[in-house]
């Protein structure tokens, strides 16, 4: 992890462990579901983040992902379909001293909650969004979602879908997002790492987790998660490091004119110095936009923290406006207000 978290959320005095966050509820996801790994990563990272357990709030919408709050021993709120984002916004704005996490899925956030999703990102409210992307509606048992690839055969698309999927990262950056990271469900250390960095980031952090649905969309992400060839299809980004991947660590991403290209180090005169160096803090989202679109077979998929740009948060600005007005405003109480302006005795 790169340095401790510095913000105003109250820290625990002693060291916390996983046990501090395990809930007494039976976890009811299917055996082998990717969500178990995500839960595992959260239980691991919350003690590392180190806030007092009572300062964590997990909010969710509807779907398999959204049962998440019941399974972590924090304050939790299981909302309604698509509405985790405004509910979480209300929690954070009512008490900015809370660390607010959203557990949501591709149906919840990209379809019914799409409007709320882009607006929370645009406002840059300091919450952390765990977006479980299994490209399918699991809880309703197998209908296509807004991230299902074109042509997906599902229960509601027996002849294949005829609509283009959303690119989650593209949507986040289009909404002027300040933080976007991507991970795969079978890499718990990577998930833990991006969760820690999301907690550290001031503003809306979106973490897209490529999650397997063992029942309705098994192997949906196998092109990037399969152990056989994942070294060739995953580019795990690290800040200030060249974008190198491949089993032999001999492949890299080069900026070629206005496009990214996969190149092989040592071939055609390519050296490591030709390889693009990742800058997650870059304000200009140009390269980040290209990175989020990369996908096999032409490219590896970019994982890790793709963007973490500085921008003031909505919650900080709200508190700032209130404290300014508290200092300069003439109205100090309801009695002041009731008696302000034009009044007269009768």
């Amino acid at each position: 992890m790169e340095g401790p978290i510095n913000n105003t959320i109250g820290k625990a005095s002693g060291k916390l462990t996983k046990e501090d966050f395990i809930s007494d509820q039976m976890v009811k996801w299917c055996p082998g579901c990717g969500a178990h790994f995500i839960l595992n990563a959260v239980e691991k990272v919350f003690p590392e983040i180190g806030y007092k357990p009572e300062n964590f709030v997990i909010v969710s919408g509807i779907g398999c992902s959204s049962r998440f709050p019941y399974y972590v021993n924090t304050y939790g709120f299981h909302g309604i379909h698509g509405r985790a984002h405004p509910i979480a916004s209300g929690v954070k704005l009512a008490n900015p001293g809370l660390s607010v996490w959203i557990a949501t899925g591709d149906g919840d956030s990209m379809a019914i909650g799409g409007n709320h999703f882009i607006h929370i990102v645009r406002r840059n409210i300091d919450v952390n969004i765990l977006l479980f992307n299994n490209q399918i509606y699991g809880l309703t048992k197998g209908q296509f979602s807004p991230t299902s690839p074109m042509g997906s055969v599902t229960k509601t698309s027996p002849y294949g879908t005829i609509e283009k999927p959303f690119n989650t990262g593209g949507l986040v950056l289009g909404a002027q997002g300040t933080f976007f990271a991507r991970a795969v469900d079978n890499n718990i250390p990577l998930m833990t790492k991006i969760m820690f960095q999301a907690a550290k980031h001031d503003g809306t952090s979106v973490m897209e987790i490529m999650q397997n649905c063992i029942v309705f969309n098994d192997q949906c992400h196998s092109a990037i998660t399969d152990k056989e060839f994942r070294d060739e299809t995953q580019l795990i980004l690290e800040h200030d490091k060249p974008m190198i991947f491949g089993k032999e660590k001999n492949k890299g991403i080069k900026l070629d004119g206005t496009q990214l290209r996969v190149v092989e180090i040592g071939k055609n005169g390519i050296t490591e110095s030709d390889i693009l160096v990742h800058d997650k803090y870059c304000q200009d989202p140009g390269i980040h936009r290209m990175l989020v679109r990369m996908a096999p077979p032409e490219y590896p998929m970019a994982l890790g923290v793709i963007r973490s740009a500085f921008a003031p948060t909505y919650d900080d600005m709200m508190i700032e406006q209130i404290s300014q007005q508290r200092q300069s405003g003439k109205i100090r109480s309801m009695d002041d207000l009731l008696n302000s302006g034009d009044t007269w005795e009768m």
Binding site: I80, G90, H119, I331
Partner: protein
């Protein structure tokens, strides 16, 4: 009140109340003119009520009926219940406004108009075939054909830096000056208003003062104005007063509740006519720590409020009919999570977009029943602009102390309307004490106060109270996810019983009139004023008609059935197709109700109410 104009030689007549209506183009400044007149009347000791009547469009085409903007007020030396229906004075700035509003003028009413605004083009645009100033249309009235445009320009001839356009903009102040003479009111307060408003614009300040005074002097000299009308002070309860609109009063009632509950006020809202002013008002008061969130839609408005309530704020959302429809699912979430939440619905004409700027009482059944599942919540209705303050305060107290969402119904008519508000002291209002969880005890999310059945509020950030709640049914006490059939039925019954027990603490339903009267008139919402006035007038004539007005609708006051059972004839008057009457029939089916309904986006008139009472009383 002493005479403003000592040299005035015109005879004076005294009236107990006067209805004035200002109508003109959207850009003619009728709202401002009306507001200034109202403030002066209030300062001179009259009781009053005001109501603006403007088009849905920001500035509809000039000189058309669609573009007419109006402002009505009634001021008096008696208790003023409403803005009245027919006016004693109509100020019509152009032919279109005269065409649209002349029907609201009493026979013999004073009509003031700008004769310069009547030309071939404007007369035709208004839909007149001939000039109403000459063709006898105005014979039944006392018409003042003042060349206001010419006189305003003339008055400003000597003022440096005045162009024609600016000069024309102060036409409305000329009329206001005339009215101050006619109704024997001082210019002082309006002068003070100019001095504040035009602090940095000496040209405008001088011009407005000159025009106002010119209008006053003109009225004094012109022969057509043959008398001065005085309306003596009203017998008001001693105290400090201000004028307030219903929407501002609603905002302040919510703020007062937050102060008394010692919680941050959070408002999640989306702009919608006619409720937006509540959001606008609350955003101003950051010095009191108010947190407002203008959400991306109605659903996000209520959901942010639910999140804020979970996190320990006193949360509200404000909307109008179509917005309430959008919030339905989330309202159910607030019911099942048993969180305090105040939903304000400033009703307008529906269905769908309907009549956005017009008033109606047609969301009562939606408020009572418009949710999936068994989802009871408190429903209250405010009855006057000032009552919006008290109703908002009371419903907030109930919602916070009983851990249940609540709907406050107001109406566009109340929200935009204003009346005099006797300023309360905050120390006179009761404290609000929500049931907080005890962090020293083991916390169970659905453990309840045995008297109220309210669960305890455990605010995130508090050690020892971590818990999970949400939209899935939970076991009573422990709060675990459960589909157990008996538990679900129990929870449904508890949520209902929790709201019903509120009937134990709300005041009994009262009657204006006598137990043995021949007819009981039943109302709710904004119709209080006009119906009460009609009933007072009838009773003064010896007609035995009584009145009961509902503020608490769900639950109903405990004595409702007993009260209604005393009368042989009951008439429920509503601005809808009959919603309260349906609800009463459902609850107390043995009582024979009659109904009087109006769905025109307009309030009842006293005359149509009296006619209805007479008709019902004659029936065997």
């Amino acid at each position: 009140m002493s005479k403003v104009n000592k040299t005035n030689e015109k005879p004076t007549v005294e009236k107990s109340s006067i209805v004035v209506k200002f109508v003109g183009d959207s850009g003619d400044g009728m709202q401002l003119t009306g507001t200034l007149f109202a403030e002066t009347a209030a300062l001179s000791g009259n009781d009053l009520a005001t109501f603006p009547d403007f088009p849905a469009e920001v500035r509809a085409p000039q000189n058309t009926i669609a573009g007419v903007s109006g402002f009505q007020l009634q001021f008096g030396h008696e208790k003023i219940y409403s803005v009245g229906d027919m006016c004693d004075a109509l100020i019509a700035m152009n032919p279109a406004s005269m065409k649209a509003h002349l029907k609201w003028a009493k026979k013999g009413a004073l009509i003031i108009t700008d004769a310069d605004a009547f030309n071939e083009k404007t007369i035709e645009k208004a839909g007149y075939t001939s000039n109403p100033l000459d063709d006898g249309t105005l014979e039944p009235y006392n018409i003042i054909k003042a060349p206001i445009t010419t006189l305003t320009k003339k008055a400003l001839e000597g003022v440096e830096g005045m162009d024609n356009k600016q000069a024309l903009r102060s036409r409305n102040m000329f009329v206001l000056g005339m009215l101050y003479f006619i109704f024997d009111k001082p210019l002082k307060h309006t002068y003070e208003f100019f001095e504040t408003k035009f602090k940095n614009n000496p040209v405008a300040l001088a011009a407005n003062k000159i025009v106002l005074k010119s209008g006053f002097d003109y009225a004094e000299t012109v022969e057509a104005i043959h008398q001065v009308i005085t309306v003596p002070k009203a017998p008001m309860v001693k105290g400090k007063y201000r004028n307030i609109t219903g929407n501002v009063a609603t905002a302040w009632g919510l703020m007062a509740a937050a102060e008394k509950a010692r919680r941050h006020l959070f408002l999640g809202s989306y702009p919608i006519t006619p409720a937006t002013e509540i959001l606008m008002e609350l955003t101003k008061h950051k010095s009191l720590g108010i947190r407002t969130f203008q959400a991306e839609d109605e659903i996000a408005g209520i959901c942010s409020a639910i999140g804020a309530s979970f996190a320990g704020a006193f949360a509200c959302t404000t909307t109008s009919g179509p917005g309430l429809s959008l919030k339905s699912e989330a309202m159910g979430l607030a019911v099942i999570t048993e969180l305090p939440l105040v939903i304000v619905n400033v009703q307008r004409g529906g269905p769908s977009t309907g009549l956005p700027t017009k008033s109606e009482q047609s969301d009562l059944l939606q408020a009572l029943y418009g949710r999936n599942g068994e989802a009871p919540m408190i429903v209250m209705a405010a009855s006057t602009p000032v009552d919006c303050f008290y109703a908002a305060f009371e419903i907030s107290k109930l919602s916070l102390e009983h851990m249940t969402p609540a709907i406050l119904l107001t109406e566009g008519y109340l929200g935009f309307g204003s009346e005099l508000f006797k300023i309360p002291k905050m120390s006179e209002l009761p404290d609000i004490n929500p049931p907080y969880a005890d962090p020293k005890k083991e916390y169970k999310p659905y453990e309840r106060n045995p008297d109220t059945l309210a669960r305890y509020w455990a605010v995130p950030g508090t050690p020892g109270l971590r818990h999970r709640i949400g939209g899935l049914e939970k076991t009573n006490v422990d709060g675990f996810v459960s589909t157990d059939p008996h538990n679900h039925e129990l929870m449904v019954q508890i949520r209902e019983e929790k709201v019903q027990r509120i009937a134990n603490i709300i005041p009994d339903q009262e009657v204006f009139g006598d137990e043995n009267d021949d007819l009981l008139v039943v109302t709710w919402g904004s119709t209080l004023g006009v119906v009460r006035k009609a009933i007072e007038e009838e009773r003064a004539q010896g007609v035995k008609v009584a009145h009961t007005h509902f503020r608490y609708i769900y639950p109903l006051p405990k004595n409702t059935e007993q009260l209604l059972s005393k009368y042989k004839k009951i008439l429920v008057c509503e601005l809808n197709n009959g919603q309260l009457v349906k609800y009463l029939r459902l609850n107390f089916p043995h009582i024979p109700y009659k109904q009087k309904n109006k769905v025109q986006g307009q309030p009842f008139t006293i005359k149509e109410l009296k006619d209805e009472f007479t008709k019902i009383l004659k029936e065997k």
